[in-house]
């Protein structure tokens, strides 16, 4: 077994490179045994489960280099707890950012709101309105204000999601085309709320970055 893992805040992503057909899979973070050990890890909770930890920006960049066949690109990862991006120019790293503070809990808050209000993000259209949100947690008060002002719950939450997407877009430098990774790739309202072109890469990009590094370091396929 050659187990690699991206330990996110709400979900952990795994791949066993020694399997006959290595396929990435998800596990809710709350189900992960504290005794679990993996060969290589990244992610917010990764240091608890491995002796070989790769920081998240490095894993994201290596995954992006492998998956995106362009010399110039911006890759933004929107997870449960934070957002981070890498920007490449002429095949070289040009800029990066990691917002664990003001980007705090964006994905987590969007998921919580969906469950609380029983909202299907597949069905919600992108609203015209957005509002100023500092972060996922502080932005919730805007939702309550909107509802108090007479806006429907779904519309208020959709405006919040759009606001979060605009924040993330600005954070990544407002590129014409944005490659998006992380759990929020699975939220169609969020993806459609970005101003520019968005190419979703799914939630296994950091895991791919680990696989690239494992191959480089250990010769794994």
């Amino acid at each position: 077994m050659m187990l690699l893992a991206d330990f996110g805040t709400t979900y952990a992503k795994f791949i066993d490179l020694a399997a006959a057909n290595p396929t990435p899979y998800l596990e809710p973070a709350k189900n992960i045994s504290r005794e679990l050990r993996v060969d290589m890890a990244t992610g917010h909770n990764g240091t608890r489960f491995t002796d070989h930890y790769i920081n998240e920006l490095t894993a994201l960049a290596r995954g992006g280099e492998h998956l995106i066949d362009e010399e110039d690109f911006t890759l933004l990862d929107c997870g449960s707890r934070d957002i981070k991006f890498v920007r490449y120019e002429k095949g070289r790293l040009a800029d990066m950012g990691w917002n664990a503070e003001c980007g705090a809990s964006m994905g987590f808050t969007i998921e919580l709101l969906g469950r609380y209000y029983n909202i299907d993000y597949n069905q919600l259209p992108v609203p015209k309105k957005s509002f100023s949100v500092t972060c996922g947690v502080l932005g919730m008060s805007q939702i309550f204000d909107e509802i108090t002002a007479g806006s429907g719950e779904e519309n208020a939450v959709a405006s919040f999601v759009k606001s979060i997407a605009i924040n993330a877009y600005r954070f990544s430098g407002e590129p014409d085309r944005l490659y998006l990774s992380g759990g929020l790739c699975d939220n169609p309202l969020f993806v459609k709320s970005f101003p520019g072109d968005v190419m979703g890469l799914g939630r296994f990009v950091l895991l791919k970055g680990l696989a690239v590094l494992a191959k480089k370091e250990n010769g794994w396929p």
Binding site: T58, K84, R92, L93, G97, W98, N99, A100, E101
Partner: protein, 153 residues
């Protein structure tokens, strides 16, 4: 009353270019301004990375840099004992992957951000009081992805 610093005699910047652990390098630069004595001789090393900025409040972030990091910005002005030398403060090496650092809310953030935008291989970094996990990860990832760690081995 004089309100401008008029110290213009350059004392040199051997510490900024020496091969030395970066926390110790910055510590020695800070200590050096407490005396009017000149600096001792230190050989300059082949630089693999650059640190531009003021001495950070949290020195722990400096331990992530290789010993072959050259120091720029106001820290270099400190060692040179010319704290108002904007030309020296604005100097950088475009061939060297460089982190332009400033404390959050410090006036130096504007210059740091401007110079980082002029430098072809730069990362602008600000940090409030302590260097949290995202600040440390940005430094590590930038140095690693810029090939600095490989070059310093």
């Amino acid at each position: 009353m004089t309100t401008r610093n008029i110290e213009a005699t350059p004392f040199g910047t051997p510490l900024c270019k020496a091969e030395l652990a970066l926390p110790e390098k910055i510590e020695r630069i800070c200590t050096s301004i407490q005396t009017t004595a000149g600096h001792g001789q230190l050989p300059a090393c082949q630089a693999t990375a650059g640190f531009w900025g003021v001495p950070p409040r949290d020195f722990s972030m400096l331990s992530l840099f290789p010993d072959t990091t050259h120091v720029y910005g106001w820290s270099r002005c400190m060692e040179n004992k010319t704290p108002a030398d904007l030309e020296l403060e604005s100097h950088f090496n475009p061939a060297l992957p460089t982190i332009f650092f400033a404390q959050s809310f410090c006036a130096k953030t504007a210059l740091a951000k401007h110079l980082a935008s002029q430098h072809p291989r730069a990362l602008f970094l600000d940090c409030d009081i302590t260097a949290g996990s995202s600040v440390r990860a940005k430094i590590q990832a930038f140095l690693e992805l810029s090939g600095v760690y490989d070059a310093s081995c």
